[in-house]
Amino acid sequence: MRKVSVIGAHEIKWGVLKEKPLLDMVSEAANKAITDAGIDRYAIQAIFLGNAFGEILTGQATLGSATANILGIPHVPSIRFECACSSGAIALREAFLNIAHGVYDYVLVVGVEKMNTKETPQILSAIATSFDFYDQKAGIVAPAVFALYASAHMKHFGTTKEQLAMVAEKNYYNGSLNPNAHYQKQVSLEEILNAPMIAEPLGRHDCSLVTDGAAALVLGPAETAKNYNSQPINILASAIAGDYYRVANRDSYVSFASTRIAARQAYEMAGVQPQDITCAETHDCFTITEIINIEDLGFFPKGEGGRAVQDGETRLAGRIPVNASGGLKAKGHAIGATGVGQVVEAVTQLRGKAGERQIKNVELFLTHMLGGSPSISVIHIFARGY
């Protein structure tokens, strides 16, 4: 396998972008990533795009072709990947594999989602299509899935609602330092704890945002990366694992098996240990999700994620900063774009260009996305290639 680098990265400012057409979002992210890469667009041999709800929320499918056309390279093979929240991360992984195995040299990866096109119940219904048909009928919505995990984690490990709130408070703070974040204001613990209940024990501030966003990357072989960009970022690992789709079929509600399995694969591929990771963007669709993930990724022992958050170990100046971008909680959750946006944060941090939220001495950056019920995890590990 060849080594693969990210040579260009860009994301638009995320938020509620009702006036910005979907393909304008794609065009802005992709064109600026191409500019960042310093590559001629005609050198791009394939486009891999992550998007979850194009048909349901925008009435536009076949976004691969639409993207190639709007970028002026209509004959380039351009494919859309759908795996719910991990759609963008899957597109990245497929690009990585194609370059690593010599199928293509230069691939454009795009993640895009336009969520705020309908009223909230319709948006929630769209998100619920990520779950099993019978689970949907039974009344499952995204907050309910992760509330099942929160109840179990609190029962088994004594994790508290205050610790959940501290995840949100931290990520709101980080988002306040990110000019591309959907939500850029701090929120107090008291306000988070007193928010209306959505699915017990998760309140409104325990939930990620409904965000419109787009992000793009240009990937190429590591051996020629510096011909294009003086600060390429190498992909040390790409891993993926699954889990039972129906919510009731799980062996555990305090852990995500797909995260544990993918993490093991990723660390082995990169030749590193969890304690070697400097910082991470992890899937925090709900506050409990971040707590469980930082345990399953091996950053903290099982059951101690809440304590680690309480002790500040995941804050910007902590032992392992998590979701410096603001995460899904504050930077926002533009479903199919989120996994690509995480990598834009990794590139920005590794290049030392994250401004006020810059983490010190970044060496190894891990990105992690869940998808589905959650029935899939995708993990990548990055390091400087210069």
Binding site: Y134, S151, M197, A199, A248
Partner: protein, 107 residues
């Protein structure tokens, strides 16, 4: 609401259990091997949540739980609480199903 008997399906070859019938076993691929069997009425709550902002066709709030039925199978269902508290490991009994899914009540 139908009679309170919860039917499962089991593969005669690989013993995989299902809540919904099918023409073949998804796990081993054998055909004409799934047979109906009656699942236990009594179970316990593995985990639960009360949903305040959920699907629009159910009165809110509603309580969803993963129920373990005697170690045979786990089922996602709604729990009728009747104003009572609810906890993990609490015992429940199958109460039937409606067009949306299975319903349990606290024992």
């Amino acid at each position: 609401m139908s009679a309170a008997v919860l039917t499962g399906y089991k593969c005669n070859y690989c013993r995989q259990t299902y809540l919904n019938s099918s023409d073949l076993c998804g796990k081993c691929g054998s055909t004409a091997s799934l047979f109906e069997f009656e699942l236990p009425d009594d179970g316990s709550i593995v985990t639960f949540t009360t949903v305040w902002r959920g699907v629009d066709y159910l009165p809110q709030p509603y309580t969803l739980a993963v129920i373990d039925l005697g170690g045979e199978i786990q089922v996602l269902g709604r729990v009728k609480r009747g104003g009572q508290g609810i906890a993990i490991n609490q015992k429940v009994r199958y109460a039937g199903k409606d067009e949306y899914g299975h319903i349990f009540e606290l024992s």
